[in-house]
Amino acid sequence: MTDLTVTSVPSRSVQFDSAEMTARVKRRYRSERRFKALGGGALLLTAVFVLAVLLDIAFKGLPAFTQHYLVLDVPVKAEIVDPKGARNPDDLRSADYFAVMREALTAAVPGIEGRVAKKKLTGLLSSGAGNDLRDRIAADPSLIGTTVKVPLLLSDGADLYLKGQQTAVSTIPGRGTATPSDTKGDITILASANDFADDLVAVKKTLAARIEDLQVRLQRAEARGESQASEAASLKEEIVALAARVDQPAVAENLDEKMPSLLVSINGGLVKLNTISNDSATGTVILPLNTIDEARPLDWSVVTYAKPESNRKTSDIEVAYLEKLKADGNVESRFNTIFFTHGDSREAEQAGILGSLVGSVLMLIVTLSLALPFGVLAAVYLEEFAPKNKFTNLIEININNLAAVPSIVFGLLGLAVFLNFFGLPRSAPLVGGLVLALMVLPTIIIAARASMKAVPPSIKEAALGVGASHQQAIFHHVLPLATPGIMTGTIIGMAHALGETAPLLMIGMLAFIVDVPQGLTDPATALPAQIYIWSDLPEQAFEAKTAAAIMVLLGVLLLMNGMAIWLRSKFERRW
């Protein structure tokens, strides 16, 4: 046989490196490389975006998981807390704890005078600061008359400042000596070594920058012509005045709230400066001085709050108080349990996620317990038992279409049917769950049918072959094998439901609800609705809360997916 091939057929060795072959191979390699690069690039881009989103959320949200407290020794005076002396728990609960806290606070920051300043000081505390104290006293009335060390909740503004989101504080020690004229009120400080010269230069620079701004505005006003002529004239005047101040470097300057705040820390007190020249400054005492003695070099310092006062929420006085409390070791940062144990609140520091989390969980329970059995049974019927005719075809098409219906439509349906027709309560997780169940039903039906189709027909035939009825074959063999797929579909549907806001809008679940719902008919909101509500609020502290709520939502989703994976593996092992 070999002889035959050798003699009759010319040699046919393959030319692996012919020019044509090499070119083709090269082309194939090129296209494979291109595909790889494109795929890799797409993956990388997606990863970058996902990472960017997650990091952004994490950075914004993490501060919300801590909360600052003032830890003070609070003297619980019986005449304030329990004037009747009856130790009646109800009276104790409604007592004026704010008064005792105020006393503790004034003791911690002594020497504050004036109504405004005092108000600023007590304003550092949250309106809910006394809750902890109240609970402790009510639980243990024997504490009355003693001094209790309690953490007092700080207001959102104070908390934000302490989280370092307001202004940078820098301290420059004095080079020469400094002498204050008084210990309180408006005073003058004389510095021996031109200590304020640098600050004065900086002030003049901000003035120069302001002139530039004004000139831009002036040009714009002039371009508009007659209508803005008066404004142009006043701008011109302003520029001339400012220019005169800038041109005289040694002349004293007034500070205003659009400039970084300058303060002097001297003799145990703090002075907010109003005017400075090279070697002297006048200002108002915020924290009273101990003496009017001359302070030696390095014993006093100029403190700068870099961000102008008008650009931040926390005023200079508040910053000064907080800095003092912090320096005295009275401020403590703790894990923010309030966020996980409270419902919504208008006060950022008292707002929590629990209400909406419970709302979401209740809703998902309703959704799951309706959509899963109905969905699976509908799928079984359609897939296995329904006669194939025009009517069932119509139903099938409609189910597929239903999966694509915008969710707001389900919300409208819920409003019309469950609220208006059946008269179910507004804002109730029951109604939310019903609406979401309608929404995810098609998803579950489609997933269940697909995974039942994917079960090899030989299994069903085997069951029928040993004399199982159709129903037995389905419920003993096909459905169990389809379970992992059904579960995946269900989890996808549930995740979808968890993140849905639009239908909730229509049934009143996008609402400010303080109480944590106790049952299916209590008013409630849901996680995504809560996120939306918080993201819409002007208070800066809610920004972090929003991100933190998103983290909780994502956490719940991860948990659900993890559960699905676990259930799947468990099921697959059993089979």
Partner: protein
């Protein structure tokens, strides 16, 4: 068990008798099968004896499986499939509307071309049929049925130590014998086998063939096969199908030695098919 024995005795009294004097178990008269418009099986008349092996041979697509699936009404599951004519088992018309198809399938077991054990344990595979038909009242009875079935299927010695393992973890040949065990566990009268060895190697095939030979003493076995040798080895009677018609049927030796029809001649000598 008592009941099926009683019905069998009653059947033997009145059953038609095949040419060789064997009692006929399955009798088909003028059976036609349509898949929608397609006329897949045409005017099939055949008597299949009890306690013997009948082989269906014929080229691919000639309707062997179709006819086999008529005997346990597995064709009912195909919406487009329509069966006319009459098939009786022990004189009972199996297409009689008053007859419950599940009862029928419990008496007519089936082994498929591709081994299809349930993705469950070996024990559960065999126990499933007896369980749903209530054949065992206690756990020990069930265990006895499973053991006996696996022994009859020649699988017992290989799996007795791992009855809890998954049936899908067995080799192809073992799986097919497991399917046979599963079929005989419900104590059927008739066992239908659709190319049971087509996915098996020669050694596994030999084991299954031996098994069929042993089972023949107690069951009416119908086997579809593409292997002439197999048909010659295991069957006593052979039916040759061609393009939807039953061309001829008779004792296996005669069909292979002196076929009466030219088409049979051509097929068994390898000229068509």
């Amino acid at each position: 068990m008592d009941m099926s024995a009683a019905t069998r005795m009653e059947a033997e009294r009145s059953a038609p008798v095949t040419a060789q004097g064997l009692p006929a178990k399955v009798v088909a008269r003028d059976v036609n099968v349509f898949y929608g418009e397609k006329h897949a099986l045409k005017h099939v008349d055949v008597d299949i004896p009890d306690r013997g092996v009948t082989a269906f041979i014929g080229p691919s697509g000639c309707g062997k499986s179709t006819f086999l699936r008529c005997i346990n009404r597995m064709n009912d599951t195909i919406a487009s499939c329509k069966v006319t004519g009459k098939i009786t088992i022990d004189n009972r018309d199996i297409y009689d509307p008053s007859l419950d198809v599940v009862q029928l399938r419990a008496r007519v077991g089936m082994v498929f071309q591709k081994p299809n054990p349930f993705p469950k344990s070996i024990f559960d595979n065999v126990a499933y049929g007896p369980k749903i038909h209530g054949l065992a009242r206690t756990k020990s009875e069930l265990e006895a049925i499973v053991t006996a079935s696996l022994e009859k299927a020649g699988l017992w010695s290989e799996v007795k130590d791992r009855l809890g393992d998954s049936g899908t973890g067995l080799s192809g040949g073992q799986q097919q014998r497991l399917c046979i065990a599963r079929a005989i566990a419900v104590n059927p009268d008739v066992i239908l086998m659709d190319e049971p060895c087509s996915a098996l190697d020669p050694i596994a095939t030999a084991k299954v063939e031996t098994l069929i030979d042993e089972l023949r003493a107690n069951y009416c076995i119908i086997i579809v096969t593409h292997s002439m040798q197999q048909a010659a080895r295991v069957s006593q009677r052979t039916a040759f199908f061609h393009l939807g018609t039953l061309v001829e049927e008779g004792p296996t030796e005669r069909i292979f030695s002196t076929p009466r029809d030219q088409r049979t001649q051509d097929y068994i000598t390898g000229r068509t098919g």
